[in-house]
């Protein structure tokens, strides 16, 4: 057991060989990089899938290799990989692992062995997921929501084995996440260094901590749903399977409730949105504060807003189910609770803007991404107000408006923060600096590109273009402009897709050829920039743990010699 709080290195695990140092490592920094590389790799698969979808939608009929079944499989796998295996794993497993111990002043996570186990189980879940591409029938094409009965009924692609690999992979992922999540929560509560009160933690830690608590409470719903559907699929139970006629035959199942699955799925699925969003909220607050050289506006309100959003997100799930046939009175309750979430969220947006107000803004690449996030998040949030209302949602449901909304609010926005965060902490993680020109080029193509992709989709949605359709064909309500818009969206998507090459080239090239980075290139006050070595060594802090004397946002303090005061600097 690692004693993280004491100034005593003895109980800390020590790697003895290359294998225990870099492969079966218990060091949170190595595990963070393992998590990140795995998540980004599988995320690239999902990115390729989205490019294939766009090829089909923009130029229908030109790619005979993409059949309707393939298209549905691309949609399903793209969605699930991006939400769970990329965003959740990268933000919590990657950034959570790297930042929590460094930001709260611990030597490592409190349960390093469990932390290692968490990564290897996550890798296993990814391997099982990828196996879905190679089983007979291919991966599931049920949509990322995996609704039964269609997910396990004949006629849906991958209804035999693809869905099974997906459900097993999800169950393993939940186990992996639970191990990691227990670590993140316990480390924040138990292993903060001397002087690091809860309210002196950077907002990144608050976001990741709250998201971890939410993950621990929300993922069991996915676990239970996956296990029950596996029972329905392989053991012939009827938790979710109603009496049906399938391919002209009455199925042996009876009485099951597809709605029960939807409730379980969205009890996980909605908090999941905020599990992805809250770490992004936290990280972006820190990026804005550091690069605007101003303390974050309304720190306490920012913390409370994170916690309140986290709590509220557990009572809004059925706003995904307005058209599911549930009791209509539910819609009233869930629309109200959904709109209430807008209040703490708006507080956060105002506070970001007020932090920027009259700040000494340095438009470096991480800051560009942080400001871009404010744009995309406001846009995605505003279209959420439309969809949160039952009467507006019903006609917009299952159209491209929904696709545009959730991609802006929980696809593009967290991804922009992730890019910003990688640019921001790269010098600390690698000890090298990336190329600024390539970074700015990557930013502008990505930022303008995502608008070119997702803004027209709102228009398509209002026209009533349905989502998840392989081809639109000849229909009376779809004008020619839809096809034109689809072509342009696809071209923009392919350009953005290609532009990500700039990012990967920059990161990999800089790893070897980048100039040596200053230990604290941005002049940041928080603890992770004050480590004795860059990149931080095993045990993070050398012989003595740091002592914290102030909060993480002492920027541009009048009378101070520099425009920031590190958290470790004693009061005069």
């Amino acid at each position: 057991m690692a004693t993280t709080l004491a100034d005593d290195l003895r109980p800390l695990h020590h790697p003895h060989s290359w294998v225990t140092k870099y492969v079966w490592s218990q060091d949170h920094k190595v595990i963070a990089i393992q998590y990140s590389v795995t998540a980004i790799s599988i995320g690239l698969v999902a990115l390729v899938l989205s490019a294939l979808m766009r090829l089909q939608l923009g130029f229908p009929g030109m790619f005979p290799a993409i059949q309707p079944d393939n298209y549905l499989q691309f949609v399903s796998m793209h969605g699930m990989i991006m939400v769970v295996y990329l965003l959740t794993a990268l933000l919590l497993g990657g950034f959570g692992n790297y930042l929590i111990p460094l930001m709260v002043g611990a030597r490592d996570m409190v349960f390093p062995f469990v932390n290692m186990l968490s990564y290897w189980l996550y890798l296993l879940s990814v391997i099982v997921l990828v196996a879905g591409f190679f089983v007979p029938g291919g991966p599931t094409g049920a949509g990322w929501t995996l609704y039964p009965p269609q997910a396990i009924s004949e006629g849906t692609p991958g209804h035999q084995w693809g869905i099974a690999t997906m459900l097993v992979s999800l169950a393993i992922f939940v186990a992996a996440f639970t191990m990691g999540g227990l670590n993140y929560v316990t480390t924040v509560l138990q292993a903060r260094t001397k002087g690091m009160t809860l309210m002196r933690m950077p907002l990144s830690v608050w976001g990741i901590f709250t998201a971890s608590v939410m993950g621990l409470l929300a993922f069991p719903a996915l676990f239970v749903a996956a296990i029950m559907m596996l029972f329905d699929h392989f053991a012939g139970t009827s938790f979710f399977m109603p009496t049906m006629q399938s391919m002209g035959k009455i199925t042996p199942t009876e009485g099951g409730s597809p709605l029960l699955f939807q409730h379980l799925f969205w009890f996980f699925g909605h908090p999941e949105v905020y599990i992805v969003a809250l770490p992004a909220f936290g990280i972006v607050s820190d990026l804005i504060s550091v690069h605007a050289r101003r303390n974050i506006f309304g720190y306490r309100m920012m913390v409370w807003a994170i916690v309140i959003i986290g709590a509220l997100s557990f009572v809004v799930w059925a706003h995904h189910m307005y058209v599911s046939g549930m009791n209509p009175y539910f819609g009233f309750f869930f629309a109200t609770s959904t709109l209430i979430i807008a209040i703490p969220t708006a507080i956060k947006v105002y506070n970001w803007l007020l932090t920027l107000w009259r700040g000494d803004i340095h438009l470096r690449v991480p800051m560009l991404f942080a400001i871009a996030f404010i744009f995309t998040f406001i846009h995605g949030g505003l279209s959420g107000l439309f969809l949160g209302n039952v009467s507006v949602d019903v006609p917009l449901s299952d159209t491209f408006f929904v696709v545009a909304h959730f991609h802006m609010v929980m696809g593009v926005s967290p991804v922009l923060v992730i890019f910003g965060a990688i640019y921001h902490w790269y010098p600390k993680i690698t000890g090298r600096m990336w190329n600024d020109t390539l970074g700015k080029l990557h930013f502008w193509i990505t930022f303008l590109g995502v608008y070119a992709i997702f803004l027209p989709m709102h228009y398509l949605g209002i026209l009533g273009v349905p989502r998840r359709y392989y081809a639109l064909g000849e229909t009376a309500f779809i004008p020619q402009s839809v096809h034109l818009a689809n072509e342009w969206i696809s071209i923009a998507a392919l350009i953005v897709f290609a532009a990500q090459g700039l990012f990967f080239f920059n990161m990999i090239w800089s790893l070897f050829r980048g100039p040596k980075a200053d230990p604290n290139p941005w002049g940041a006050a928080s603890l992770e920039w004050q480590t004795p070595q860059t990149p931080p060594a095993h045990g993070n802090w050398g012989p003595h743990l740091p002592t914290v004397y102030r909060w993480a946002y002492d920027y541009s303090v009048p009378g101070a010699p520099r425009d920031f005061i590190p958290q470790t600097e004693p009061r005069a």
């Binding site: 903060r192 690091m196 009160t197 409730s257 539910f330």
Partner: protein
């Protein structure tokens, strides 16, 4: 220091420093409480699903009139009694001042836990022999699912107990005992659910 006071601290003011490092509970205790919360959510969701599938939410459009209750054989009560006895043994271990006594009591507790698992296995066999198969009715499906998940938690508890006994560490034994009480509580609630419907 109350949670409210912690969360309202004005950390930008010079006087703020209200964190007593020495007063924190151990990492194991915090981790265990967090896991108990996770397991509580899981079993609560299953209970909610149980009621929903059983058809109590007719207002939500769930018919569910195919539910056939299962009988309550004596073995159910015998198993419950074994688990209660197991928990008592763990409580003795938790309160023991000296290590040897704690180790002996926890060995007894773990052995009784193993007996409970075997008993549950026999209960499954009993139901199978009587024709209550997994797929024949949703009541049966829920019974097997709930007992299997609870059994898995018992297995996890036994692994943790083996680890604590190997280390002969009183703190670990105490945490194991608390986890065991939690599993007993979950079992009593689950058994109550199964018997009452």
């Amino acid at each position: 220091m109350s949670l409210l006071a912690r969360l309202t601290e004005k950390s930008w003011e010079p006087a703020s420093d209200r964190d007593d490092v020495s007063g924190r509970p151990s990492a194991g205790a915090v981790g265990l409480s967090a896991y108990v919360a996770v397991a509580c959510v899981m079993f609560s969701l299953l209970t909610a699903a149980y009621f929903m599938r059983r058809g109590l939410h007719s207002a939500m459009g769930h018919a569910g009139d195919d539910w056939l209750p299962m009988p309550d054989p004596p073995l159910l009560w015998i198993n419950s009694a074994i688990l209660v006895a197991s928990s008592i043994a763990w409580e003795i271990a938790r309160r023991a001042g000296e290590r040897d006594r704690a180790v002996q009591a926890s060995i007894a507790g773990a052995a009784l836990g193993l007996c409970f698992l075997i008993g549950q296995w026999l209960l499954w066999r009993h139901y199978q022999a009587a024709g209550y198969f997994l797929s024949s009715n949703p009541a049966n499906a829920f019974f097997y699912l709930l007992t299997a998940l609870h059994g898995l938690h018992i297995v996890g508890g036994l692994v943790a107990a083996g680890w604590a006994l190997a280390a002969r560490d009183l703190r670990h034994i105490r945490l194991c005992a608390l986890y065991w009480h939690f599993l007993l509580l979950i079992w009593l609630l689950l058994a109550g659910l199964l018997v009452s419907t």
